[in-house]
């Protein structure tokens, strides 16, 4: 079956993730949306890997998962700190730096 569908799906997921980043206030959810974008990329990689008939894409996918995990660690650390200081996880809250 046509690989295009997989690509379209991944594009869809990517867009959903991007929109999520743009519209959601809660830092955690924003962060999850980013993860969604990463995974959409994974999907694309895997699909292309099959299409191109080599394993590079799938290897990338694994790496990305690891990286994503690392990001989670760092990200949560930062978000939690902010949360503890401001008692809120809204990313619109911290707004001292502007103009």
């Amino acid at each position: 079956m046509n690989p295009a569908n997989y690509i379209l799906l991944s594009a869809l997921l990517f867009s959903i993730g991007a929109i999520g980043v743009l519209v959601r206030r809660n830092a955690i959810i924003v962060f999850m949306s980013v993860e969604l974008m990463l995974n959409s990329a994974n999907l694309a990689f895997v699909a292309f890997a099959r299409m191109n008939g080599n394993l590079d894409g799938q290897v990338v996918a694994f790496f990305v998962m690891v990286v994503a995990a690392a990001e989670v660690v760092v990200g949560l650390a930062i978000i939690v700190t902010i949360f503890r200081t401001r008692r809120s996880a809204s990313i619109d809250e911290p707004n001292l730096l502007k103009y």
């Binding site: 980043v21 743009l22 519209v23 924003v30 619109d92 707004n95 001292l96 730096l97 502007k98 103009y99």
Partner: protein
């Protein structure tokens, strides 16, 4: 054709003529107060020195045959760029020698006179320094062998006159008058500079002999242009219409200055310029005609102004304008006139100097009062002044055998040789001269006392009267001497050329007519101002009188036509510069500033709007990319 000789023998001292007074000026100016005591005498000494040398040169020159009387001394190369080669070279010939003598001799007398006249002035030293500066510049003017060097002398005398008019700078009027004189002269200078440029472009040189040698080959249009430009210059220096306005104010200066600079020498520089450039005018008829017209207009303007002024110096100034008008007029007549222009210039130089110094002596006795309506009946009080003044008076109105008669009569005659109408005009003007001079004499020396209470008129000291006497003698005999013994026309002929054309009527007719007219004028003057009492308050007078009191509205016209528009436009430009030109600069700055203000706002501080701009940017870039692909 006259040949040019290198300066040898006494002529090798040519440069000394100028160097002496120049050095005097330099010493006095740099020396400062130290020179206060002996400074004036040094000043006199230098000028006398130059005078002596000049006389020696005259003798040496007379020894030579007429064709070999032109010597040139090349002092050094002055300005040399490409084809523009001008050297600092002096030329002495029959024309310049007479000027040199006039300047140095009359100058010397006036210097001596000033010793007395300025005796009480704290700045005497400076006064003499300036006078020296003037003499040096004037000598440079008449000795230069090319137009550019002449220009230097030309401006030099202008500067000296500026300094001396404004000598009593505590009087704002004096300062203003000085500035006015300089600026108006500057207008004339424009004429001179452009003339020089045109001369160079046309003839490829600015030295007299080169230029006059090639006149034949230039086309008349160019020559006319040059002629008119030179006329403009002459008008500026010689206070001829339309640049006459400065001379009357120039009387703010000390009287000796008026005598030397604004009567005898500087103001005649214009005549010298025209006479010197005779070759050009001979070839450019229209220019010559213009000269005649300007001269004629000025003759009458001066005469009319002279008739109306109550200020004795201004009245004399008016007459100076008028007399110089005569000279310019004569110079315009061409070869028939040049010599007599110079002739009249010399006689006038002497008698007008005498008159001015006389006036000065009167003022000296009258606490520097200049209003003739407060004079009267001074003939008894200041005998010497009176007698010498009379000599000058008879000379200027042209009563034989006084010097003025000979020179003016020749000019009138020359005028008739050209055209009877202008001749008649010249005679009429002579009549007016008779009127206003008589008026002056009558108001000053005759009639009743109209003195202010605190004035106690007295004769001036010897140091002032002796020059007066010498000048009076000059005014009496000089005319005859130059004409019969020195036969001036043939003396000058090699330089300015001379020819005589038969006139419709025999010569004696013109003489008689002239004399009659003059005497009529004199009688009218006598009747109105000696017979009747002169009111102390000037009567309102008729239209012409009032106009004349306003210098025939010369200033008013200048103001309306030139000065005010200039200042208006200047102010307009200033605002334009601030508002528009600089305004644009500041506007740009503030514009960028505002832009910065707006753009800053885009940095909202919200992470999500940042993300949005990233997405938006990304999309824009991708679209651009695709468009590039597709195109």
């Amino acid at each position: 054709m006259t040949e040019i000789l290198p300066a040898e023998g006494v002529f090798s001292l040519l440069w000394v003529l100028i160097a002496l007074p120049a050095a005097g000026a330099l010493i006095l100016l740099l020396g400062g107060r130290r020179t206060n005591t002996w400074g004036p005498y040094l000043g006199i000494l230098t000028v006398v020195g130059s005078a002596v040398i000049a006389v020696l040169m005259l003798l040496a020159m007379m020894a030579e045959p007429a064709e070999q009387r032109t010597v040139i001394q090349n002092v050094y190369d002055w300005v040399f760029v490409g084809s523009f080669q001008v050297s600092f070279a002096l030329q002495l010939d029959q024309l310049s020698i007479v000027f040199v003598l006039l300047i140095t001799l009359v100058g010397a007398l006036i210097f001596i006179y000033s010793l007395g006249y300025m005796a009480h002035d704290p700045d005497r030293r400076k006064f003499f320094a300036y006078l020296n500066l003037f003499v040096a510049a004037m000598l440079l003017l008449v000795l230069a062998n090319n137009y550019l060097l002449l220009y230097v002398g030309w401006e030099g005398v202008g500067l000296a006159s500026y300094l001396l008019i404004g000598f009593w700078q505590r009087k704002p009027t004096a300062a203003a008058a000085a500035k006015k004189a300089f600026v108006i002269n500057r207008v004339g200078d424009v004429g001179l500079s452009v003339a020089i440029m045109l001369i160079f472009v046309t003839f490829g040189s600015v030295t007299f002999q080169d230029v006059f040698g090639q006149v034949g080959e230039a086309n008349e249009g160019t020559l006319t242009a040059i002629g008119l430009l030179l006329l403009l210059a002459a008008a500026g220096k010689s206070a001829q219409f339309p640049l006459q306005a400065w001379l009357l104010d120039a009387m703010e200066g000390p009287t000796p200055v008026s005598a030397l600079i604004h009567a005898a020498t500087m103001v005649t520089a214009g005549v010298y310029l025209i006479a010197r450039s005779n070759a050009i005018y001979n070839a450019a008829t229209w220019a010559a005609t213009a000269v005649v017209v300007v001269g004629l207009i000025t003759i009458f303007m001066g005469a009319i102004i002279g008739s109306a002024k109550d200020d004795i110096k201004k009245s004399l100034a008016g007459s100076t304008m008028s007399q110089i008008g005569y000279m310019v007029f004569a110079a315009g007549l061409g070869p028939i006139g040049y010599v007599f222009a110079i002739f009249h210039l010399l006689t006038h130089g002497v008698f007008k100097a005498g008159l001015f110094l006389g006036a000065g002596s009167v003022m000296h006795g009258m606490n520097d009062g200049v209003n003739m309506r407060r004079y009267g009946a001074l003939k008894g009080v200041m005998v010497i002044t009176f007698i010498t003044f009379m000599a000058g008076y008879l000379a200027i109105i042209g009563i034989p055998p006084f010097s003025g008669f000979w020179s003016k009569d020749e000019i009138i005659h020359a005028a008739f040789e050209r055209n009877s109408i202008i001749g008649a005009a010249a005679i009429l003007a002579a009549g007016i001269t008779g009127f206003y001079m008589t008026r002056m004499v009558a108001m000053t020396f005759f009639g009743k006392k109209r003195w202010e209470d605190d004035v106690h008129p007295h004769e001036s000291p010897k140091v002032m009267t002796i020059p007066l006497i010498i000048l009076a003698i000059g005014s009496t005999f000089m005319g005859m001497a130059l004409l019969f013994w020195g036969n001036i026309e043939y003396w000058l002929e090699p330089v300015v050329g001379y020819e005589s054309v038969p006139t419709p009527l025999p010569t004696w007719v013109y003489i008689v007519v002239t004399l009659v007219v003059v005497i009529i004028g004199a009688i009218i003057g006598w009747v109105t101002y000696a017979r009747k009492d002169v009111p102390i308050e000037a009567p309102r007078g008729n239209l012409l009188t009032r106009a004349a009191r306003q210098d025939l509205y010369g200033d008013a016209i200048n103001d309306v036509l030139v000065v005010e528009p200039t200042y208006k436009s200047a102010h307009a430009l200033t605002t334009f510069d601030n508002k528009a030109v600089d305004g644009f600069v500041t506007w740009t700055a503030s514009f960028v500033g505002d832009l910065s203000k707006r753009l800053r706002r885009s940095q909202t501080g919200f992470a999500r709007s940042y993300a949005l701009s990233m997405v938006g940017g990304a999309i824009i870039l991708l679209v651009a990319l695709i468009l590039v692909r597709l195109s």
